[in-house]
Each structure stands twice: as structure tokens, then as C-alpha cells.
Amino acid sequence: AGPGTMAAAGAASGGRTGGAAADWGGFEDNMQGGGSAVIDMENMDDTSGSSFEDMGEMHQRMKEEEEEEAEGEAGAAEEEDGEFLGMKGLRGQLGRQVADQMWQVGKRQASRAFSLYANIDILRPYFDVEPVQVRARLLESMIPVKMIHFPQKIAGELYGPLMLVFTLVAILLHGMKTSDTIIREGTLMGTAIGTCFGYWLGVSSFIYFLAYLCNTQITMVQMLSLLGYGLFGHCITLFVTYNIHFHSLFYICWLGVGGLSTLRMVAVLVSRTVGHTQRLVLCGTLAALHMLFLLYLHFAYHKVVEGILDTLEGPNMPPFQRVARDIPVVSNAVLNTTAKAIALTL
């Protein structure tokens, strides 16, 4: 019953291929040449609607037809010549199987690559910016708007925020290195990337959720963009204060620069929210988180005097512990050397 049905299927597909051959007569000659590189241009005009997929389908159909014919042959050959089974039958079948497998793999790879490309295309409109626009938006992020009665326009682009997050990561690395931060159960780079991206994505999602509760007219991409540009103030403050270690300078920058960028974000959100309670909740949360993040970034990676704790406490130190000390810059070096001297004598 097996060979019978296969022969019938072969005949049916042969009939189908025969019907298709009437339409695609020109191609049939070329395909039977075994993948010849020469394509007759005359015949191309007859099949002007052909596409690569159609060629692939036709090829597949022809291969199936060949397979079924050859399987019938190989079956007959196997029954007749049992000894020559290894030579001709196997090689033919193996070759066909390999060709089939390669076609499947190729198809799978192509579809996977296509889906990956399609995913990139989803993000493409958010990166459609000019350098002038980016510069303008960076400067605007420090200027709080005064008109809060009309919903303010937020540009939904992701290039600027992404670059600002990466810049913050680089500045954080610089700060960690100059403050000799020692991280036990992690890596410097991992911590920096995790902190910055975690803040940007996490706080954006949280504020978006609150905005949804407070009926604010804002989309997720706009929220990501707003918070991302709000990190510009953080970048400036940290860049200045990681190099010039004066506490009063940091507090001035924190209030001034950080405050300006927070005020801008708050003003934009207020212009898009209705109701006093909602405005208070949303903007209070955002302001608190934004300012506290800057405070955290400064003090967590401030110049620490790690050497004292290390030598005094030894291996009982819990992991990922850093203690910030308010030591004025001038006596830092003196304290370091005295601590090391004491440790050496102990």
C-alpha cells in the first residue's frame, strides 16, 4: 500500500507540476540544467511576475517529484539487488537528504534573520533625529516651561536618552575608579550599567504606572524620553563633582542643576495632568526619586577611605559594603598614610 500511495501522489504532483510547467515553461529548461547560472533573458519576459519564493517553491516541488520517482526506483532496486544497496541507493538517498536538510536550514535561517530585521524596524522611527535637534533638546531639558495650562509637547525619541544613559555609565566608572571603590560580589562595569539602566527603565515604568493611575496623557516612549533627558543634569553634576571634591559645590550643583531638570520634568507632567491630588502624587514621586538618585550616585561613589576598614576588620567584612566618610579633601592624604602606617604596625 505504501509504494502505491506514493506512486499516486507522485502522479498527482507530476500532474500539478505539468500544469505549472505550462505557465513556467521557460524556467523548466533552466531548472533542469541543474542550477545553471545562465538565465535566458528572453524567457524571463514570459514569467515576469516570478519571485524568488516562487522559484523556491517550484524547485521544492520538482525535488519532491524527483524524490518520489527515485524512491520508487530505489525501492525496486533494493528488492532486486540486495548487494548493491549500499552503493547506489544509499548515496542517492543520502545526497537528497542532505540537500533537503540544507534547504530547511537555509529557510529557517532566512526567516529568523528576517524577523530580527523586522524587530529593528520597529525601533527605527524613534531614532530619526538630527544632531541639531538633539542639542536643542539637551538644552531644553534644563529650562522649566512656564505654560502649564496646555499639554507640553514631548518628543518621543530614544537616541538622546540612550546616549545619555551610556554617558552616565562612563562618568560613573570614572568616579568609581578615582574613588577606589572596591566591589566584592560584582564587577565595576556591571554595577554601573545595572544602576543606570535600572534607574532609567525602572523609574520610567514606575512613573508611567503612576501616570496611568493619575490619568496623565503620556505614553511609555515619551516617559522614557523625558526621564532620559532629565539625566542630562545628573551627567553634568557628576562630571563636575567627581573631579572637584568640594561638598558645598556638590550641594549647590545638586540643588541648582538637579533642581532645574527636575522642575522641567515636573512642569511637563503637571501640564498633562488634571486634578491637584494627582499632580501632587505624580510630581512629588518623580521629584523625590530624581533628586535622591543624584544624591545616591554622589555619595555611594564618593572618595572613600576604604583602607582603614579593610585592615581593621579583616575578613569579617560583609560583601558589597562601602562606607562614605565626610573627610575634607586636604587631610585625606594624611589620613590615608597614617592609616596604612597603623595597619602595618598591627
Partner: protein, 217 residues
């Protein structure tokens, strides 16, 4: 062959010539010809290709050899050697101050992938692996800087050595950035070159920072 019945050939076109079409490139023997050559030939061919690209990086002219036949051998070798050289700074288990091997590896490849995606999203015409190839090969000046820094640190680690290291690393960082922008910026629309150059600048800045702050314990 029903379709051929309609085809008519006029009398004065000579129907002659070779009927066999030279399709020699697809014959199975040719595909296997590179398997029969000695291993040394294969390795030397690949090494020569990698070496030629190194020369292109050190003297960045406007040539398309790096882009045309991209390969990732060179970036792999550079990345592994850079990560190995950067690793020696933390032999003590208490002091995890230096970057681990995996960290450097991940930073370089993840950073290169992000820059490539960024340049593609901004409308670049370069393909994914070509961009990875260029960014990987342009790490060569920084690897040279790392070597020089290690040699300088063998001599001593005072202020003078820091100044020497700073100068060398800054010079190589500039060279890397210039070399990669020479290859990559051409594939962008002309008014967006700055948008593509900035992440490359950040990427090489981070790597240079890791090299500069490397201190063997």
C-alpha cells in the same frame, strides 16, 4: 514542453555553438578543493588576510578592503589578548578592583553590537558584521597601548610613568576613534555623522579608561 511549440527561430540566425554551458563553479569537486590543501596553507591565507587588515587600521586610508571581506578573527584575537592583559590586576581574592576577563569580553562585544544597531537605526548602509569587523579591528591601537602600559609599569609606577601612560593611551584612543570613523562614517547620511561618532567615542573611551587605570597588584 508545450510552451516551446510557440517559439519560432528565423532562418538567418545561425543555430550553432557550444551547447554545454560552463557551470564549472558549481561542480562538487571544486567545493572540496580547499579541504585537500595542507593546513598550513589555510592558516597562512587567513593570517595574511588578518595582517592586511591590521595594516589598513594602522594607516587608515579610504579603502574598502576592511568592509568588503569582513572577518571576525582579528577582533577575536585582539579582544582575547586585551582581556588577558587586563586581567592580571586582581590576583588577590579580596581585591576585585580589576576587570575580569569575561567583563572585558562582554563590554567589547556588547558595545560593538550596540553601536552597530545604533548606526543601522540611524539609517546606515553598512551591514551588521561589517560594522562589527571594523569596530573590532580598530581596537588594535588600544591593544598596543595596553602592551606599552604594561611595559612601562614593569619599570615603575610613579607619576612619570602615569604621565607617559596617559599620553600613550590618549594618543591611541584618538587613533582608534579616527580609524573607525574613517571607515564607518561614510556609510551614514552626511548630516548624521556626529550622531554615529559619539557612541564610538564613548566605547573607545571606556576601553581606554580600563587600560589607563590598570594597576598590577
Amino acid at each position: 514542453f508545450a510552451g516551446l511549440a510557440d517559439v519560432s527561430i528565423s532562418e538567418d540566425i545561425p543555430v550553432e555553438g557550444e551547447i554545454t554551458i560552463p557551470v564549472g563553479s558549481r561542480s562538487p569537486d571544486e567545493d572540496f578543493s580547499t579541504l585537500d590543501e595542507p593546513v598550513r596553507d589555510t592558516i597562512m591565507r587567513d593570517l595574511k588576510a588578518v595582517g592586511k587588515k591590521f595594516v589598513h587600521v594602522m594607516y587608515p586610508k579610504k579603502s574598502s578592503a576592511l568592509l568588503r571581506d569582513w572577518d571576525l578573527w582579528g577582533p577575536l584575537v585582539l579582544c582575547v589578548s586585551l582581556a588577558l592583559m587586563l586581567q592580571g590586576g586582581s590576583a588577590d581574592s579580596k581585591d576585585d578592583g580589576g576587570p575580569q576577563f569575561a567583563e572585558v569580553f562582554v563590554i567589547i562585544w556588547f558595545g560593538a553590537v550596540v553601536i552597530t544597531l545604533n548606526s543601522k537605526l540611524l539609517g546606515g548602509t553598512i551591514s551588521f558584521f561589517q560594522s562589527l569587523c571594523v569596530l573590532g579591528y580598530c581596537v588594535l591601537p588600544l591593544t598596543v597601548a595596553m602592551l606599552v602600559c604594561r611595559l612601562v609599569l614593569l619599570a615603575g609606577s610613579g607619576t612619570i610613568s602615569f604621565i607617559i601612560r596617559l599620553i600613550v593611551v590618549v594618543a591611541m584612543f584618538g587613533w582608534s576613534t579616527l580609524a573607525s570613523t574613517a571607515f564607518l562614517a561614510d556609510s551614514q547620511p552626511p548630516n548624521r555623522k556626529a550622531l554615529v561618532v559619539y557612541p564610538i567615542f564613548l566605547f573607545y573611551f571606556v576601553i581606554s579608561w580600563m587600560i589607563l587605570t590598570f594597576t598590577p597588584q
